[in-house]
Symmetry: C2
Subunit: 387 residues, 2 copies
């Protein structure tokens, strides 16, 4: 079966954009990706777009056809996929599978969310729809609340400290400060994180990713087309997905993300690699504790050791496994449907050697880990450049 | 590449169920499908679910993981796809593509919508999100309003009459009366349709499909597994999808559905068939005019002749091309995300010879046509039984 390559990427600045709508954002990212791929739009066979909740954020469903229409590709099969904050990663995966199926040769995969047109309260309730509405949100468990439960359990079982979590934010802001697309291009100190307002104890304001507007688009092609149109295609060597219970209380463990462990294992098998073979990773740090659980689930360190591993600097840009060089969801921002695609874009830029001041030296293999809800969906991609 | 077969089907009654939630509905349909397939759940590799707007109807997104969890398949890759009222058809298509890609052997594809927990006004606004929220709904164009514009144009250009549209409702209610799962199991007369309250002139209450709760699930398998588990697998010989502009005013014609024409053509090519080779069809009659435009787009009669073709009885159960033997969206009901799967189930029952009193004699090849919004998405499947 054919290999699938990323041949173009486009991303908007991430932030709070009162003057831009969902359509503006996805068109901006889409056009940038098409230009980056040096491709005429007419070569594109189909499109997938990830978006969590356009219905509740802007009153609009049926985003697949809308995006095809607005980027000038009216007529192509266009499909929205959704798995909360993993919607972007799943759009990438469906696009990849449609090429593997022999159905398409060139496919566009995008992600978009326009979150700031509603009140913060409304955004909070909308995001609560990523978890179990009946058993969690309805009873007052917001998303920071759910991750706070996981953080407490991790602290209790493994001795993880609030300072270790804070160090995730410090590192990711340090990276975000070098990313011109990031929502927060400023560093923070551990003192600032520790003294920031409590949101859901032990999580403080600077442990949490923000509410963000943004869009990101990649263009995929089967091997021949990829080599024809692109000097430096980046190959998708693995695409794996798993699920878990929607509600936290049904899980075997609160301090472990089983869907991520399963998706990671499948991805390593597909790519015939081990965690130590990965040169850098973009992981889903919607909260600082989420990054700690992610690096454990992906096997970069043993379960329970993520806090210590972070404290030792292993995940820094010059560490043994740089994590979230883009700034992560924490500093780059988290337009939920766009996040999975934005991760693939950071990996592509790193593998092409186009990551500017945040470039990881000699990066050959990168991993992207995208989570939906409190872990009920996880999708992992492994990307590789030609040797 | 492997053929893909439908090896099990399950569907709830369609109607207004105050005592059942979305979870109850999809579990009921899912369990029925698994039993029908004589399969242990552990054989299922992945799931896709179509749902238009669970966020706005019941406050819950992330339906893929939820469904996997509630039907006892926690862990499998589970993905929601959405294209308004074509969400079910697209879930079927993505499930099919994932088998074609060699990624999965057995996949469950479901559709569900729980629409009656909100007010009719709220449901109307939510459904408006299937069209162009900014350029249509915001200015007062509800869905009946959009289809009324298409009906007016069709009447003006081709002389289609209100009576011909009414005959679509009469026929579909006659079929629905024989379907024990249908929301309306009662016949209506042409006089009743013509005298029913105006909704958006020329469309009257009995020209419109209802608001419905319901769920439908099919199980797909690659050829070897299909033959192993199923005596009478029904093969998916074509799966095709196309898009059109989201807003009606951007279309080349108001009286024609170009996405359906394109998807139909591709489907006939894939199956190497012509319209005359189709023995029966389930088409997307969200309004009576929609069925008339559908049979034209699919080539069962020339463009503009759908009204006359219906009047002549060609689409009746004993006509040359029986259409909507299930009762269609009109009489069977239209839980939007479930509709595309329910169409595939009716086709499967007909091809197996299990359609009871509404059985079409010697049915060998059936077609399902599922539309999103006012036609911005169309997906067409052609199903066939072994000779």
């Amino acid at each position: 079966m054919t290999r699938v390559g990323i041949i173009g990427v486009g991303i908007t600045a991430f932030g709070e954009f009162w003057e831009k709508g969902l359509r503006d954002l996805i068109v901006e990212a889409g056009m940038a990706a098409i230009q980056d791929a040096h491709l005429e739009g007419a070569k594109i066979d189909a499109g997938y777009v990830g978006s969590m909740s356009p219905g509740r954020f802007i009153g609009q469903e049926h985003i697949g056809a809308l995006v095809a229409d607005y980027v000038g590709l009216t007529g192509i099969p266009a499909t929205r996929v959704e798995a909360a904050c993993a919607s972007g990663g799943l759009a990438l995966r469906q696009a990849y599978l449609s090429i593997k199926a022999g159905e398409n040769k060139v496919v566009v995969a995008g992600g978009v969310e326009k979150m700031t047109d509603v009140s913060v309260e409304r955004a909070m309730v909308t995001l609560g729809g990523a978890g179990d509405q009946e058993w969690e949100l309805f009873h007052g468990a917001t998303f920071p609340g759910l991750y706070a439960l996981m953080a407490r359990r991790h602290m209790l079982e493994y001795g993880t400290t609030e300072e270790q979590m804070a160090l995730v934010a410090v590192k990711n802001h340090r990276n975000g400060a070098l990313n011109p697309k990031a929502q927060y291009q400023s560093e923070v100190t551990i003192e600032q994180v520790m003294k920031s307002s409590p949101v859901a104890t032990p999580l403080k304001l600077l442990d949490c990713s923000p509410i963000t507007d943004g869009a990101a688009v990649v263009i995929l092609a089967e091997e021949k087309m990829a080599r024809k149109y692109c000097e430096k295609p980046v190959w998708i060597d693995a695409s794996a997905q798993a699920s878990d219970t929607l509600a936290l209380h049904d899980r075997k463990s609160l301090s472990r993300t089983d869907a991520a462990i399963a998706a990671g294992k499948r991805a390593y098998q597909q790519a015939n690699l081990k965690p130590k073979d990965i040169d850098f990773a973009e992981v889903h740090d919607c909260f600082t504790i989420a990054e700690i659980m992610a690096i454990e689930a992906l096997g970069f360190c043993p379960i329970g050791k993520g806090g210590k591993f972070t404290e030792e600097g292993n995940t820094a840009r010059d560490g043994s496994i740089p994590v979230n060089t883009s700034g992560g969801l924490k500093a780059k921002g988290h337009p939920v449907g766009a996040t999975g695609i934005a991760q693939a874009i950071e990996a592509t830029l790193q593998l092409r050697g186009d990551a500017g001041k945040r470039q990881v030296k000699d990066a050959k293999v990168g991993l992207a880990h995208n989570v939906g809800g409190s872990g009920a969906t996880c999708v992992v991609h492994i990307l590789r450049r030609d040797a």
